[in-house]
Amino acid sequence: MTERKEFDHGLQEIKTLLIAMGERVQWALEHAMDSLQTSNVEQAKLVFERDHEINLLERQIDDLGTQLILKQQPVAKDLRKILVGFRIAADLERMGDLARDIANVTVRLAGQPLIKPLIDLPAMAKFVHEMIHQAIDSYLREDIVLAESMAKSDDQVDALYSKVLRDLFALMSNESDSVNQAMLLCFVGRFIERIADHATNIGEGVVYLVKNQRSELN
């Protein structure tokens, strides 16, 4: 078996960029949640400021993948590796935006004490944080089993999200002063839940890569 050095090298570079992107998104999610829990506006602003790094990585992946398609004309699985790489980059970029949206809630709540200690939202974020890692890992290892088990975590995220909504709706009906903040915290739940959906998309991309079949993982 001969190697295709140029192609394999380029693909490796895309993988490295995706890993970097995933780490940045995890960082953004972590810090956005942390800023929310500790009402740390400075930390929230840092999440904003660094979002462009994620966008830049997506563009680099776009450019590199386009070059590879152009010059190497990959087919079959080689082609899917790049197409799925594009898709993962797009999903990660959206996740970065959603982390920024969470940080934005911290800014909007500046100066207000939290109406309740945050328990389920951080728990959701913790699940999602792990999903992001597993999603990228499943791509790197072309591991469908991992992709599928990762997507299953989405159920737990959804269950927690429902609980968050129930609790906050109850709070709103009892304490009308808290409506504004409770709404914003509901949004945070929504943002985290959306990030999990994007991770699930990545899992579907991995199934497509390996089996050349479309799938609905969740």
């Binding site: 078996m1 001969t2 295709r4 990959p74 087919v75 079959a76 699985k77 082609l79 899917r80 050349n212």
Partner: protein, 252 residues
């Protein structure tokens, strides 16, 4: 429904060399383009040449098995090989027009088959050149020597010459490998036009040409037909690992 070509247990030997090994194709579709790919020496051209029995001309060659076209095994002893070859046109790697005028190149086959009326020949020449997408470029110089037009035009002339005798099947053996990219694309587009009337089978070294231009693809390796599938299937999700290695450029 057009009858597909069926290949049944086809073996070809050159002396002791086993060039094609038990080739089996249930249905090589009619009125479609089939591409044959594989590394040099894999047997794809040999296979192409079994279809118009050109291998008969190679000393020491031996064929067994069946190729069934329109319900008839073309290797049956009753088959009139000349009549068979009339139904099967062939285009080669290098354009090979006759040292005659453009007009006479096209008229050559029909004349050979007994067409003598000038008006009828005119009509065949025009319609063949039109089908080969060459008419507009040469209609004012039909009396010119065929060698005076470009290589790409000469190749389309050869296609026009092949279809002038109204064949059913058109074999193309690396028909674009000596042409520039623009001429190549023209021939590929021409093949797309022609497939509604002819069954086209093309051997190509250019994998991307197979992907671009064909409906079905067969992958040959060491005299075996490793895989025969729709082009979409073969290039997106090949069934055999050897096919995947070849099309992704990892051997061959």
């Amino acid at each position: 429904m057009e009858k597909a070509i069926r290949i049944d247990g086809l073996n070809v030997y050159y002396e002791t060399f086993h060039a094609l090994k038990n080739i089996q194709i249930e249905a090589l579709p009619a009125r479609a383009i089939t591409a044959l790919i594989g590394p040099s020496g894999c047997g794809k051209s040999t296979f192409l040449r079994t279809i118009n029995r050109m291998n008969d001309l190679v000393p020491g060659s031996r064929v067994d098995g069946k190729i069934i076209i329109n319900g008839v095994d073309i290797y049956d002893q009753q088959v009139d090989v000349e009549a068979l070859r009339k139904k099967i046109g062939m285009v080669f790697q290098q354009p090979n027009p006759f040292p005659k005028s453009i007009y006479d190149n096209i008229a050559f086959g029909p004349r050979l088959h007994g067409v003598t009326k000038k008006s009828e020949l005119d009509e065949i020449v025009e319609s063949s050149l039109r089908q080969a997408a060459l008419w507009d470029e040469v209609k004012d110089k039909l009396k010119k020597m065929a060698y005076d037009i470009s290589g790409g035009q000469q190749q389309r002339l050869c296609i026009a010459r092949a279809i002038a005798v109204n064949p059913e099947i058109l074999l193309m053996d690396e028909a674009t490998s000596a042409l520039d990219p623009i001429s190549t694309i023209k021939i590929e587009e021409l093949a797309q036009e022609l497939k509604s009337k002819y069954t086209i089978i093309m051997v190509t070294h250019n994998m991307h040409q197979a992907a671009r231009a064909s409906d079905h693809t067969g992958f040959f390796l060491n005299g075996e037909l490793v895989e025969f599938a729709t082009t979409e299937q073969l290039f997106s999700n090949p069934g055999d690992e050897r096919t995947e290695s070849y099309i992704t450029g990892r051997f061959g």
